[in-house]
Structure formats: structure tokens, C-alpha cells
Amino acid sequence: MRRPEPVQIVKQRRDAALQRLVAGVPYIQFLGIEIERRGDELTGVLPYDEKLIGNPMLPALHGGVTAAFLEVTAIMELTWSMTWEDMEKGKITDDAPRVVLPKTIDFTVDYLRTGLPRDAYARARVNRSGRRYASVHVEAWQDNRTRLFAQATGHFLMPERDV
């Protein structure tokens, strides 16, 4: 029987693949979004910044920022799950061609509470991922995991892949 891989090797491979995915998207850096990983579970983190404000009177996060944060997290989760097997087989390396991202077909955001001027978190779940289309649900919260401030569902067109 083959011995399991050393933990450092596994972590290094997964973190490097995730880092490559996230660093390639300028808009993620622009909003300051970070993607944290526990095993295959991803959490989007949006650290608070004054430039994310949409209503200076309240103040509250911009609804568009909330939508963007949800969409970024959904796309990252979908791409991550789509490339997981290849990544585990060591096929995603620095000299491999860039991963082609899914394209958003539609995205519906449900605003449940005002986004407060503090950090926000989001996690997405791929409800269906076929050869051509995928449906992803994503939830965002701030202080309490059970008190969502926004949720969204999006449909995505999957990139063409070799089978």
C-alpha cells in the first residue's frame, strides 16, 4: 500500500493552486478579497475598507460591493471544485495553461440586512455542476454565521474541457 503524502506537500500544492487562481484576477485584489481554505472548503473574506461604502450617512456597504463579493466567492468555489481533481493529481503547475474561468449567465442577490462597516465573510455551495451549466448558491454574513446579510444564486456557463 502507498503511504499517504506528507501533510506539507498536500498543503503546499493546494495553497499554491488557490493562490494562482486568486492572484490572477485583478478585481479580487481591487476589492481586497481574500480566499481562505480548510481542506476543500473555501471562505471569502472581505476586510472592511472605506472605499466599499455605498451609503455614507448610515454608513453601509455598497449593494454592488456585496453583489461583487458574492459573485467572486461563487466563481472561486465553482472553479475550485471544477479543478480539484486535476490539482490533486498534480496537473496544475506554474507552467500549465491558465485555468479558464466559468462565465456568469445570471446572478440574483437577495439583500437581507444592511451591510455594516466591518469585515464580511461568504461561502458558496455548488448545487449542480454539469458539463455546460452550473448553479451555485452563496451566503454572506458579518458577525454571526446564522444572521446572513445577503445571499445569492447564480448560473454559470462552464468552460470547455477535455474529457
Binding site: 478585481y27 454592488g64 461583487a68 459573485e71 442577490v109
Partner: protein
């Protein structure tokens, strides 16, 4: 009253929208405002790219533009809500915006009820014949105390 000093209300709405920090960092410009309609432009910016392979702007930035423009249309509805917030917003992406093109969004608040306003919006790049995206949204209506 609803028909009182519409010019002043448009001016107040304009000041409010132009003071939004996130609209400023995206370079949004209010090009038309009044009578339940708004038009806002956003210049192409390499920092907003969602797919480095193609240079296409991320859908999230288009969402921010659609949301701002829709909210602006609600604020200048003749029934004069004093404030508004997004309840839900659905965006359909028809095609990728041409890299390098400015994005223009036009929104119309086509119905307003006691507590909810309904909005449609369309986004274009330089080709105004073929929309890049459309949106429909429901917004809260905060009215001034009677």
C-alpha cells in the same frame, strides 16, 4: 408634496450619489438624472478585470454600476422617496463587454408602491444596439413622515 420643487430633489439626489465612496473609486459619472430615470457611466479600468485572459471587466463591477444607477432612478421618482435600499437585484449577462470600452447604464423606476419600488436597468459598451447586461430589481421606499 410629490410635485414640490423637483429640481431641488434632483439636485439633492445628485449630491448624494456623487458622494458615494464606492461609486467614486469606480469612476462613475452621473450623466442623466430626473423623472424616475438615471444614466451613469463607468470608464474601463484594468483594476476591474475579472478574466485576465480576455481583459473583460468582472461582473461584480457591472453589478455595482447597475445597483447605483437603479437606486438613483428610485430617488428621482416623482413620488419622492427620501431614501432607498436594494431588496433584490437580478442581473442577466448577455455578452462580455468589449475591453477598453466605457460602460453606460440606464435605469428606470417603472413602478412605485407604498413601500417598494421596481426598477429595470440596461448596460451597454460602445455598441448601444447590443446590451451587455440587463437587471431587474426591487428597492425599499423610505418616505418622509406625512
Amino acid at each position: 408634496m410629490a410635485d414640490e420643487q423637483p429640481k431641488d430633489r434632483t439636485k439633492i439626489a445628485r449630491q448624494f450619489i456623487e458622494a458615494i465612496p464606492h461609486a467614486k473609486v469606480l469612476g462613475m459619472k452621473l450623466t442623466q438624472l430626473g423623472d424616475a430615470r438615471a444614466e451613469i457611466t463607468m470608464p474601463y479600468d484594468a483594476r476591474l478585470v475579472g478574466d485576465p485572459e480576455t481583459g473583460v471587466i468582472h461582473g461584480g463591477a457591472v453589478s455595482a454600476l447597475m445597483d447605483t444607477c437603479s437606486g438613483a432612478a428610485v430617488m428621482v421618482h416623482p413620488e419622492a422617496p427620501v431614501a432607498t435600499a436594494t431588496l433584490d437585484l437580478r442581473i442577466d449577462y448577455m455578452r462580455a463587454a468589449q475591453p477598453g470600452d466605457m460602460i453606460t447604464t440606464r435605469a428606470e423606476c417603472y413602478h412605485i408602491a407604498r413601500s417598494v419600488a421596481f426598477v429595470r436597468a440596461t448596460a451597454y459598451d460602445n455598441d448601444f444596439e447590443r446590451p451587455v447586461a440587463t437587471a431587474t430589481g426591487a428597492f425599499t421606499v423610505e418616505r418622509a413622515p406625512a
